[in-house]
Structure formats: C-alpha cells, structure tokens
Symmetry: C2
C-alpha cells in the first residue's frame, strides 16, 4: 500500500523552472508547521511523481533537498519518513527507557532545593524591594547607543571577545563609581560582569572550598546571595542584624567571607554605623577574611552625607565591592561589576572566562558610551531627586496614617523604606490581601531564617509614583484590618 | 595656612539664581576630570567665600551639595577633602597592609591555571576555528528587532524576569532546532542560556561532585569545555579520537559525563560514525552516564545527508544537546540553549537562576522575533550555500596546491576543514609565519593533550571570502617553506 500525502500541493505548470523549488518549499512548510507529523511515512518518489503528474527526476530532486536539510530521513528498506520521532523506535538499547546513574541524579537534586522563588509579575502598584522606575529612564538615548554599537559590530569581521577586559568599559565604570559613590579606583581594579548575581557567583566559585569555607551572611538578608554560596558548597552562617547593621560579635570566627550591605541593609534599610564598620574591618583584618560589600542601590542617597564605603576605608586589600546597573539604569540590562583587590583579579578573570567566556560587546559598548557621555550621571542626579521626593511622601504617609503601628527604620539611601510593625498583626495575610488589591509588597520576614525581633514591611518606592503613595499606605492599612492608631512622636524628620 | 583651589571658577553675577548651581557644577567637574585630585584639601567655606567674593551661605550651599553627592568628605577637625584617597591614611588596622587568609589565596590561585588563552584580534584573513561571516548577517533586521524590544521594555514598569523561562523564546528555539537539525523536541525541554559555554557551566555545577565525578572529553577537543569541568572539580579524562570520532573503548568505565561533538568533531572535523554513535549510546546506557552533545556548527551541512543527532537516537533520557546562536547569527550575541532530559531540567533552571538569576529580556525578545519571523531560517539557508561554496573552494585549493602534503579529513558540516599534515614540517612556525603575513589559523595540536597520530591545521572558511581562499592556501604553503608536491589521488570529491 502506498501512503498518500495528506497535504494539498500547488504544482507549478509543467516546464516551470520553479517547479522543484516550489514543491520543496510547500512540503517543508507542511513539515515545519506540523501538517506532516514527525514519523509520518512519505510515498516513494515514483508514487509521489505519478500522483502529482511529475517527472520522476523532479520528485527525486525535491526529496533530495528535504533529505539534505534533514526534514525527512530515509531508513534502508522501510522508506522515507518525516524526521524526528521515527528514530526513537530504533533505540539502540532495546530494553525500555535507560536509567541515569543515581549519584548523578542525587547531585542534580541537591540543586533543586536551591531554586529561587519565582518572580511575581508587576502589579498595579509595585512596592517590591529594589524595583527602579524604568518609565523615567532615557530609553531613547539607550536605543540610539545600542543601535550605534550594533552598527559598529556590523562593520567589523565576526569574532569573539574576552569577557570584561574592555579597557574603555572599565574606565567608564571606574568613573561612574567615583562619581556615584566617591570611591577612588583605577580601571584595572574593575571586573565587569552580568549583574551583581554573577559577581557573587564568581566570588563563590573562586573563593569557596566545598564543604570547608564558612561564609557569613546578614540575616535577614538577600536570598540569591545565600543560594549561590550554598550552591558552591560553602557553609553559610546567618548573622543577625540590628539597627547598626551586622552584629560583628556574632560572626563565626571561622568565617572567611563576610557578605554585607553597609550602605542600605537589605532588607532592613539601615546603614552600618561607623563603629560597626571599624569593628568589621578589624575582624576581617585579624582573620584575613574577605568582605563582600554589596552596594546595590546607594547611588540614591537622601540628604544625609553618606558614610564612606568599606572599600574606601579598607583601601582595597580585603574588601570586594559589588555594584550593579540594575537600579541606576534598568533591571533587564544585566550588567554589574566587581571592584576587587589585585590578588583576586586573575582568578576572577579566569572564572568569568570559563563560566561565560565572552563579554557582551554590544551592551558593554553602549554602556561605555552611556557613562562617558554623561547620561548615567545625569539620570542618577535626576532620579535622586525623584526618589527622595517619593521617600519623603512615603515617610509622611506612614507617619500620618500608620504612625502608631509602622515604625520606619532610619535609612538614607536606596529605593525602599523598611517599617517595623508593632503588635501581632498577621503580616502574611496583609501582604496577600494587598496583592489581591493590586499592591505588590515584601515582608522582611521572608528574607530571614533567624527569629526576628520585629517583623515588618519593606516598602519599595522606586516604582511607585508619588501620587500613588498615600493611596498605597491607606490600602495597606485597610488590609491590615484597621485604620491604625493616631500618629505618635515618631516624626518623619527622624528618618529624613 | 589656607589652601587655595587650583581651579578657575567662572562666578555668575551677584544675585543670579544660578550662582550656587553653577559653582557647584564647576567644582564637581574639576573633581570628576581630576583637576582636583582625591585627597586634595579644600579651603574653609569662609576662605572660599571671601576668595571669590561670595556670601558665606553660597559657599556653604555649594559645599553641602558636594558633600551630599560624596565628592568631598569632611573630616572632623582636619577640614574638607576631595573624596577618595584621604580615608586610606585613616585605615582602621594601624599596622601596614593586612594579609588575606592563605587558604583563600590558594583557592583563588587554583583558578588562575584555568585561565583561557587570550583571543587574538581578527587579522586580514581570518581562518580561525568557528568564526562565522558576520558581514552577511542581516544586522538591519536585528537592529530593528532589538529597537522594538527596547521600545516594549520602555512601556512596561521596571521589573526583573526569571531566566530562560520565557515560553515564546523556548517555542522559537524548539522550532529552530527542528528546522536546523531535524530534532523533534518540545519547548518545555529547552533551557535558554548565555552561549554554549554557560550551558557547559550549568551542567558542570549541577552534575559534578568535586573530586569525584569523572568527565570524559574528546582529545583533541574544545579547551573551554575541559576548563569549566576542571573548574567545577571534576576529574577530566581525555579520550582519543580517530576518523570515526571518539574511541568509545577508551572511555574510562567510571566516566559519568561524556562530552562529544558528533556532527563535526572539534577540531578534527570528522562526523561520528553510526557505529560509534550506537556504541556510545550503549556505553552510556550501561553506565547510566550523561552524554553532552555539543552541536556547535552543524546547522551548516554540506551535501551529505546528516546523521541523526545522538539526542534523536537516544530519545532524550541520557543525552543533553547543547546548541548556540554564535555561528548561525553572530558571536557577540551570547545566546545558546540546552535541550535536556526532564530529570535534569529543575536542577539546571535552579543553577541558571543562582548563577545569573535573570534572563536578558531584550536580546531574548529580539531572538524570539528573529526566529519566529523566519529571519534565522532564511539566514541559515543563505549561509549554507555561501559556506558550502567556500568549503568547496578550500578543498579544491588544498587539492591543487597542497595535495601531497595537506590531507583534508572527511567533513560534511560546519565552518572549518581540518587538514592533516604529512611529514615533519614545523606547524608552529608555519602558524607564526602565517600570522605575520595576516592569516590567523589554528593548529589542531593546540587542542590536544594526548600525543596526536598526525598534527595538522584547522582551516576555518567561515570568515574567509571565497576569493581569498586560494591566496590563503598559497601563503600557507609559502610559510611552510615550499610549494608542496604535485597533487595526488586525494580527490576533493572524497571530502565533498
């Protein structure tokens, strides 16, 4: 029996030069869009030819093209099939499905528990932690610079590039750091990478000895950081945090990496006190431990004079400074950098090379231009004003409407204010209800593994327009079930 | 003594509203472009005011702005300094430079030996391995799609996105794989990532147990692959390759990962024989080992009907298929993918998330459109013709001019032809001389750690226009010192 093709073919007039090409195109299309299913058997070239009134040669030419392209496969003796599933039947090891080695499977499963929670879609009012206001970013400028970079790329012969070694990019980043964080550094100290997370990952793979190295992290703290060190086999030691930042006395003596957010503790929002900074640097100095300073959003300072970065105080022997452009530009950019001691650079460069090898010349060139033409500095200055206003509005709204219940911690930087909740209200339920009413917000308890003195809310104002802030606070209050007490002494000035 | 500022300031007319802002801007600029060096001491506000005939308040306002921005820092008692170096003197641990813990230092040093060789700049005639012809890529289309993606991004509120989970992107990649490699797969089997190297990296971190897991790699083979597994602590076992591909009998019994390039061995160019494919799948089936099928450039097939991918033969239980868009589009893109068994997916997704967390929405959206609008298929079809012509020209030139000396291996795919060199010519010197004469080319010996039966040259034709090919071969011949013998039986047909 000769299988018939269940597709209608438009056969060009006899003698048309286009005949083979046209039939070939129609069949391929039928295969691509699934009208011809993988594994479906095709008629012999003879049958196909006679059925459509073609010369045998024409049919052969069409089949040859499809064979060459891999759309159809010929199995000796059994005919010609649409490529794909057919070979499955001819599985080499006859007996059923093969089983993967258990130790491989266990290795793999070890990783599943490191899975990060899925990221929620943006909601009507987005008060999640660390979301900048993308709507004010000069995308027109960025589009132009990316287009420029692509045009230049089109002009040069295709090639690969080493990762993060572009001198101009590192110059630009160094300039940006000295502008936005008053850190004097040299381009040679910069290692560019794909967002802060890759920076943590590179440090983990370079510095962690699986099963041995102890890494101290802030608790409450940043989950993805903890995960990447755990994934590298580190012993992760959570260290409690108070209003002065990480409690240095509680850092295990054997800790060889200490990861902190001194400018704007994640998620509590407090800045590490000068006293703690000194204590931390002394601890690290004694132990020869490396401090990872995650400065994720302190380009945005509100009023108060910023404390010097640990990197600045240390002078750059033990402190690795990690920065990102996700907040100062936009999250989808995926560019960040490390500012690291000389002894670490070659290892980090090697790690970066084997983990992703090549840089991203287009985005990196565009970023270089964006910084060196002053667009980034301009945007940061603009956003400092915008965010400061939103922060003031948020603190005022909290004071007026929830003064007795939500106590903002003292914070002078970044894109969120943390407010500790007095009393026993169920914050989980509040967060749920808020989500239901279109307000996305994070509970600081979600960032903690150790018991918290007081739970609270991290209120991101980065993506929340000023006019929406009061509404948001009132909605939260309603979700908490109750109007909240009358304002008390907690004047917003205390946090401004 | 009052230090004077060594910068000229243009002071706006008294009473101008712009006064503070203008002076502030000028000073900041002086600091940014280094006219005011970090650590330089500024005059007191009083001195500054009197020197420039300003009201004291104006001077204070200017200083306050610079302080708030972190350009200058005030040290109690000692005055105001340009930010940056000053704090170094005030290093907490008084005694000289602190020393990092030795075990951290050793850990880091371990990585330096994994450093990859620097990538050479493109030369006049680029015959290196695996460089595609970027000049024929439709960058205009790509620019438009990237611009579109950026426009859409500008419309949505800022947010982060989970990595590689975009359904449309995976649909598109699945369609691409079935088109370009006749592999029937489902979008759910795809994990998108940043180039093939990240794919290897994810597999290494998910499957390798440091110090335990044995990973078999082809030798000669792809260095960056070997490095990333070594970096993850695997015991890397080089396995020799012959004209049928990896010699399965030489794979260590304890190997739990086996990395191969069956379609176009890197760098020998041969395709793994059907016999070896069966043997390899049987080995893996018995051991429960995972096969990593690196299909780096076989979208470009030349004439012969391609052998089925191992992934197709296996049916997707033990084989992980790794693909990249670096060859079919352009290297700077940094996008690739894994096609993997269901049991591996959650672990790989988790690993991808903690290693770089977020995807690259812009490039991924552009790629999705590029594939689904048919641009990629069109480009690949076009380049198949172009590359086939170049390959034919190269084989012909080798046959005519170097027939007796350079014997091309049988290869039917990809962007390079490998030619084994008869006799004892010094290929290192040849490669050097060729570089000096503007021809970049790779010696296969550089990819080997085991002794080679015969050394030779990997002649990339991807980035070498047809008209240049004969010239290149003649130059190589000259570099080898000698015209080469008259052509022999080795007809190019044998390799066509």
């Amino acid at each position: 029996m000769i299988p018939r093709l269940e597709v209608d073919l438009a056969i060009p007039a006899r003698g048309s030069r286009q005949r083979v090409r046209s039939i070939h195109r129609q069949l391929r299309q039928a295969i691509i869009d699934g009208r011809l299913k993988p594994g479906a058997r095709l008629p012999s070239t003879r049958a196909f030819a006679s059925e459509h009134g073609l010369a045998r040669n024409t049919a052969c030419a069409v089949y040859d093209l499809l064979l060459a392209e891999g759309y159809i496969v010929a199995r000796a003796g059994s005919g010609v099939f649409v490529a794909g599933i057919a070979p499955k039947h001819a599985r080499p090891t006859g007996r059923g499905a093969v089983r993967v080695d258990d130790h491989l499977r266990r290795q793999a499963e070890r990783f599943c528990c490191l899975r990060l929670p899925a990221i929620a879609a943006p909601s009507r009012i987005d008060m999640r932690l660390g979301i900048p206001d993308q709507s004010l970013f000069p995308f027109d400028v960025w589009r132009r610079l990316v287009g420029q970079a692509l045009r230049e790329l089109a002009r040069i012969p295709g090639s690969y590039a080493d990762a993060g070694v572009d001198g101009r990019l590192r110059e630009a980043i160094a300039a940006h750091v000295s502008f936005s964080r008053a850190i004097a550094c040299d381009a040679s100290e910069i290692v560019a990478c794909n967002g802060a997370q890759q920076a943590f990952d590179l440090l983990a793979r370079v510095l962690v000895r699986p099963g041995r190295t102890c890494v101290a992290v802030e608790d409450p703290g940043y989950l993805p950081l903890r995960r990447v060190f755990a994934g590298a086999g580190a012993r992760v030691a959570p260290v409690p945090v108070d209003e002065e930042g990480i409690i240095v006395d509680r850092i295990p003596k054997e800790a060889r990496l200490i990861c902190v957010t001194p400018s704007h503790q994640f998620p509590l929002g407090v800045a590490m006190s000068a006293r703690r900074r000194r204590a931390l640097l002394e601890f690290a100095g004694r132990a020869g431990a490396v401090i990872v300073e995650d400065d994720y959003d302190s380009e945005f300072r509100h009023g108060a004079r910023p404390l010097d970065a640990l990197r600045t105080l240390d002078g750059g022997e033990l402190v690795v400074y990690v920065g990102t452009f996700s907040k100062s530009m936009f999250p989808a950019l995926r560019l960040g950098f490390l500012l690291c001691p000389a002894w670490l650079r070659p290892a980090l460069a090697a790690a970066r090379a084997i983990s992703a090898w090549h840089g991203r010349p287009v985005e990196e060139a565009a970023l270089t231009a964006f910084v060196s033409e002053g667009h980034l500095a301009r945007h940061i200055r603009k956003m400092r004003r915008v965010y400061s206003e939103r922060r003031t509005a948020l603190l005022a709204a909290l004071h007026t409407h929830a003064g007795g219940w939500l106590k903002p911690t003292a914070c002078h930087a970044g894109l969120h204010v943390t407010a500790l909740a007095a009393g026993e209200r169920k914050l989980d339920r509040l967060v749920e209800r808020a989500h239901a009413r279109g307000i996305a917000i994070d509970r600081i308890g979600r960032c903690a593994t150790l018991p918290l003195k007081a739970d609270g809310l991290a209120l991101g104002f980065g993506a929340c327009p000023e006019r929406r802030i009061e509404e948001a606070v009132l909605t939260l209050l309603a979700c908490a079930g109750g109007r909240g007490d009358r304002p008390r002494r907690a004047s917003p000035a205390a946090c401004a």
